[in-house]
Symmetry: C2
Subunit: 217 residues, 2 copies
Amino acid sequence: MAAEVEVIDGIREAVLRGEFAPKQRLVEAELCEQFDTSRFVVRAALRALEAEGIVERLRNKGARIREISLTEAIEITEVRRVVEGLVAARAAAQASEADVTRLTTIGRRMREAVATGELMQYSDLNAELHATLREVAQHETANRIIERLHGQMVRHQFALSRVPGRSAVSLVQHERIIAAVARGDVADAEAAMRDHISSVIDALNALGQQASPQASR
Amino acid sequence: MAAEVEVIDGIREAVLRGEFAPKQRLVEAELCEQFDTSRFVVRAALRALEAEGIVERLRNKGARIREISLTEAIEITEVRRVVEGLVAARAAAQASEADVTRLTTIGRRMREAVATGELMQYSDLNAELHATLREVAQHETANRIIERLHGQMVRHQFALSRVPGRSAVSLVQHERIIAAVARGDVADAEAAMRDHISSVIDALNALGQQASPQASR
DNA sequence: CGCGCAGGTATTGGCTACAATACTGTAGCC
DNA sequence: GGCTACAGTATTGTAGCCAATACCTGCGCG
């Protein structure tokens, strides 16, 4: 079971790094060799990843990386909008002074990253900000759901980060969230987070428009 | 795998019917006999149920029914509040005439059930209403999450249904949701659903107060 | 030349046996 | 009499094996 967790994480990380393409078949034997473990462990790992919604398994046809359509990505983000809204609200309700300091520091570094055009840096800070908010909110149930949803979104998340001009737009949204949390404004923290993620949904929609104007998928 | 799904459902149903107590150990051998299957299948089922958050498994100590504390039940309901709010909003946005008819019918039957004091009937209609809204909303991602959360809540849900006077309170809330969806008022549908589930959270809190005034758990 | 059928191969599904680990009860010692 | 250590038992974790199923290839027939 110790080995099992490692394999689960290994495959998950590989997927997150984009080493497996969507719809790619995950042959058990291959994974055995790749992670130097037994088929038993691999099968258990695939089961777990199926439950996480990262892979799908068809009867007698094995496991593949689950393809997340754009419409599904939007659905996922819609759910994230409300759940992260809850997290922001709770963070605002119970943030300590130290928490506020951490958040404002992240905000300042974000502004610097945008100013110097360091997109990767900004993307990391974005993840850090959301993670810190979740930590402050201490809402285990919400955290679990957000993490699970996030795991399914990586591919689209990556596409999003490459949309030019997004960082400048999202910066002010992030700063509004931080400000609301800092002054303990529960309602505005939630609203700010919702607005922020709404703009992510808009960006996803735009992505779909430009990629395939006629196809729904 | 066909057998496997059956066992998963079987155990889940048993838990939902309250046949297993929280913290009760689920010995693999026992389940093998009970469902007339092999340990292999049982183990797979336990894994799946672990992913659903219904059981927990400790290394070399086996599986137990996961104990959902009151605070966790409240967390779960908080998440449900925002996600079901999303569902209600979407239902309002895209409900057909037939959908509205179905919903108003459920609403009328709810009122009747309350009038005649048929609590079980009302409880069933409650489930039916929420299920119908999810169906109308057609939001797969949200539905999955709500169902998962619901599965973890059964025990507390049961306790809640026994609180005297709750049906009368929730009836008007349900009717407000139905009315908002019927006239396509997205914002009010979400608000109404949130208010409704907020009152559920209040009831849960009250339950905690009366049960153990000093203990946090 | 194309379509359908059949056999072979690859891959997964399920089972049994074995190993490792934790719990429990008992006996001996302090 | 109580505590500790040891041994036995119960239960889970792991591995390898056989069977079932789907896919692919080749052959035959129309």
